[in-house]
């Protein structure tokens, strides 16, 4: 055996566990999911007829899928700007040479490391229509209490609130790292020229922070398209009153593990995949174009 071949063999032995596991549990399912999306199958029976594009046609004509698509897009459209704006605000404040920075940073990060299964139950209690904290504060402020969990108009508000609450610290920490990467010299030069704080923020901070902002924009968008857990925890297996919490992933979950319609489930999974893929491509294109020396 030649030296080069032997080195290759040793390297592949080092990679063996990774290649086997990724092959079986990532690469194979990507292909298999695509194949299943062209079959009618209940996962149990041997009868598995090929139906071509029918599963895709079905979901695109299914009103429930339309609801899922609409709710998911609405969630993304509200969640992403809100969490980015609040995260940036938090990061700018944390970057203002304050005392107790580590303490604040820790506090903001705690929701991100705790399970939504646990904290979602707390939110369910806060949103409780009779004894919940939120209605108590509303009444104290002279406003009408709301039936947060049973009124479909509030579903989106509830899940966005929980989403923002959980991810705020994560977004802020990444923004903070981006802010700390901007050289002090720019601000010192601006001070010499007598710039106002707002001018410094708009002309120095925002442009120089844009690589971080784009990274977070794409990342939070991709995560937002997969919204599921807070709905499951708040509403159990119902996707909210009148399906007001039906999202793409919830639809896939319902079709797959509720109705055992694997074809529909895999077709909707691939629609979700396609959306995420487009945003990933956008990220790669943007990260090449948006680049400042900081």
């Amino acid at each position: 055996m030649s030296f080069r071949l032997r080195r290759s063999v040793t390297a592949y032995l080092m990679l063996l566990p990774t290649l086997v596991l990724i092959g079986v549990f990532v690469v194979y399912p990507i292909v298999d999911s695509f194949i299943i999306s062209f079959y009618k199958w209940d996962m149990l029976s041997a009868n598995k007829p090929f139906v071509g594009l029918q599963n895709y046609v079905y979901i695109f004509e299914d009103p429930l899928f339309h609801t899922a698509l609409k709710n998911t897009v609405l969630y993304v459209v509200f969640f992403v700007p809100i969490v980015l704006a609040l995260g940036l605000l938090t990061a700018v404040l944390l970057n203002a040479k304050i005392r107790l920075l580590p303490l604040f940073r820790t506090a903001f990060f705690i929701p991100y490391v705790t399970s939504l299964a646990a904290t979602g139950i707390v939110w369910q209690w806060i949103f409780n229509d009779q004894f919940g904290l939120l209605n108590y504060f509303l009444e104290r402020a002279g406003l009408h209490p709301q039936d947060w969990l049973n009124d479909p108009r509030w579903t989106l508000f509830n899940i966005i609130t929980i989403g923002v609450w959980q991810n705020l610290g994560y977004v802020a920490v990444i923004f903070l790292a981006g802010l700390q990467n901007i050289s002090r010299e720019y601000y010192e030069a601006a001070d010499v020229d007598g710039a106002t704080p707002w001018q410094k923020f708009a002309r120095i901070t925002l442009p120089l922070l844009s690589p971080t902002t784009y990274f977070l924009l794409i990342l939070t968008t991709i995560e937002a398209f997969k919204v599921f857990l807070q709905i499951y925890v708040l509403y159990g297996e119902t996707a909210g009153p009148n399906n007001s919490g039906m999202t793409l992933l919830y639809y896939m979950f319902t079709k797959g593990f509720g109705d055992y319609r694997m074809g529909y489930a895999c077709a909707s999974a691939y629609v979700l995949f396609l959306i995420v893929f487009v945003f990933t491509l956008a990220q790669m294109a943007l990260s090449r174009r948006v680049h400042y020396e900081a």
């Binding site: 080195r7 990774t18 399912p29 990060f109 139950i121 707390v122 806060i126 004894f131 499951y232 694997m262």
Partner: protein, 268 residues
């Protein structure tokens, strides 16, 4: 003067973030009568610590804790071991197809894990691993993110370290685990924390694979408990509190590594 505003807004934001935790703690020590009071108080008039004992006894929480710990620990140990081996190959060895393979691995990170859910469920079911530890654990034994983090770190180590080990006649495994890993502590602590937290909080996979309380981890066990007891909120909050406690403690001790690892993912 301006600093006052900074602190004021930060405290308001902190209240939003920590408020639910305070409310969880507060409710968890209230007697039944005070939970449903018209005017909520932060501190109870009569402390009811027995909510914790009652909640603990009403579901097999000891079992859930053990399952969570066992599953997360095993996934973390294997992820570090296999991840380090792969990272070592990519960082320090020459082999056929190296670049193509690395790019292909990174590309798999783009695929949302949810797309893999159904085929993986079928695979686990074919292997007869539904409702077993292997079913919960085996699909998650390696993560590309760990390989990526470790490879970057290994590339930054001085070449002499590797060459000295190889001159002494060490094979790649001995070089890696005897010499490289001990000096790569920051990166494997970071990787381990991120993996452990992710495994501990995993929900959807456990929900579909485990169908008896013998194999529930804490998050799924807790949701199950919640639908059983309904609106007994003081016990629910007690259960939520002891469920999140281990991770909060872990995070408080390891946050330097954890936050740096997260922050690094945002900067190329």
């Amino acid at each position: 003067m301006k600093k006052v505003w900074v602190y004021l807004v930060l405290i308001l934001l902190s209240l939003f973030v920590l408020g639910p935790f305070l409310w969880m703690l507060s409710t968890s020590v209230k007697p039944d009568a005070e939970v449903l009071s018209a005017i909520p108080h932060l501190f109870p008039e009569h402390w009811a610590f027995d909510n914790y004992a009652k909640a603990w006894a009403s579901a097999p929480f000891a079992r859930y804790f053990w399952n969570s710990f066992f599953v997360s620990a095993l996934e973390t140990v294997f992820d570090l071991t296999f991840g380090a081996m792969a990272a070592y190959a990519f960082a320090r060895m020459e082999f056929f197809g190296k670049n193509v393979l690395f790019v292909a691995l990174l590309a798999t990170m783009m695929v949302p894990g949810e797309v893999l859910l159904i085929p993986n469920y079928i695979t686990i079911s074919t292997l007869n691993w539904l409702n077993t530890y292997p079913g919960l654990i085996v699909p998650w034994l390696v993560s590309v993110f760990t390989i990526f983090l470790m490879r970057q770190f290994f590339l930054g180590l001085p070449r002499e370290v590797f060459e000295a080990a190889e001159l002494d006649g060490c094979g790649p495994l001995r070089t890696l685990f005897g010499i490289i890993m001990p000096i790569s502590k920051p990166i494997w602590i970071t990787s381990a924390l991120i993996k452990f937290v992710g495994a501990w909080n995993a929900f959807l996979w456990v929900l579909i694979i485990a169908n008896s309380s013998d194999y529930y981890t804490l998050p799924v066990g807790l949701i199950n408990f919640s639908s059983d007891v309904g609106t007994v909120y003081n016990q629910l909050m007690a259960a939520a509190t002891f469920s999140v406690l281990p991770l909060i403690v872990l995070f408080l001790f390891g946050q330097r590594y954890f936050i740096e690892g997260i922050a690094r993912s945002g900067i190329k």
